[in-house]
Symmetry: C2
Subunit: 222 residues, 2 copies
Amino acid sequence: MANAERLDRERVIKAAVELLDSDGLDALSTRRLGTVLNSSPNVMYWHVGSMENLVGLATDQVFAELTLAIEGASWRDDLAQTARDLRLLFSRHPWLTEAFSTHPRIHGPAIVRFQNHLLQVCSRAGFEGFDLDWAGASVFTQVLGDAWGRTPSPMPKDRTTTPTEIVEQVRGDLADYPLLLERYEALANADPGTVDEASFEFGLTVLLDGLQARLNQRPPAP
Amino acid sequence: MANAERLDRERVIKAAVELLDSDGLDALSTRRLGTVLNSSPNVMYWHVGSMENLVGLATDQVFAELTLAIEGASWRDDLAQTARDLRLLFSRHPWLTEAFSTHPRIHGPAIVRFQNHLLQVCSRAGFEGFDLDWAGASVFTQVLGDAWGRTPSPMPKDRTTTPTEIVEQVRGDLADYPLLLERYEALANADPGTVDEASFEFGLTVLLDGLQARLNQRPPAP
DNA sequence: ACCTGAACACCGTTCAAGT
DNA sequence: ACCTGAACACCGTTCAAGT
């Protein structure tokens, strides 16, 4: 099975990202990748070394999609913009949450560039020293946690269970917790898109207000 | 290979948690579990149905360790206490981050009880409606993100790489980002335990201040 | 009711061998 | 330098068969 063009690292990564975007992290296997590339079940090893490495390269690849513009507005606007862009990245590539949790030490040029951007924005805000690291990390964490909460259970054609059905299933477990049951029902009856959006903005506002409070305690040098 | 005592659901889950605690999520396989239980490679199927289900049951099992006491102090203290307890749970069972990200829809009595506790504390603080859900979720997200950032790369005996060596390895990638390099070095030279603690407390304070700011905008009814 | 053995369809990775 | 074939040591899951 000779393929039309010669393979290289870039084409392998591109095929990996396509597989990940369409079918998720589990779908990325050495053998499926070989099939997609019209090649042998283990082509990737020459080009990227290992599965773990390939996931890291694919992650770095999609991080390159981020614009990371500094608009010149307030640090609040810059940080909010960064968080919203990152959120969109995670929604375009839902496998990112799983990739980060199973391979926690991913790094690469685009990720490093993103980390630096976060630090720059937080630095402008007035953070220094370790506060700088922690402020940046809190933004990333916020988006990661938001995306995690939004990850749909992977049930491809499993008779798409409606929210109402889910509530029925857990109603027994919730018998002792009327407040929790009330919230489950409220969420089941709300429009998912609207709730997702508002939920993210709630978290973002809380985060920015919290950072602001921290800055107010340590006012900038005159 | 007859085993001394009869198996039941509880013993299977207990063995699973021990395997997870000692060797991580990857170590939990049907065959290893069978070996540990002095039984066949597929014993678990009769008792828990599937691997996915077993991970959920193990997660719920460890969530039962949480005390979830309401101290009667301020909502801030209660929420901080809950977050710190949850953090300790994640550090006792480092596989939890991966479990939540690979099986996002885990639920069970102990988890439901924890969710209810979060809602109760947030409700006392003055949150209502969807704000209640989002406030609770932000606490869980905060701890999850903190634990994620702390997950050590699983390199068992891989010549424990020192932080300084890591900095050397990425120094090339960081050439264009002096601020980022400076932060890497500062973190490499700091005591990990102290930094972890301070990092968590920073995030927690930011979160609580942010929630407080939200409450101030919507003062409680008189 | 509970457990075993064998099988199916997969994995990641290595390595000698090909071109 | 790049790719293939075959093999090794694993997976989760099913199912007929045992007790």
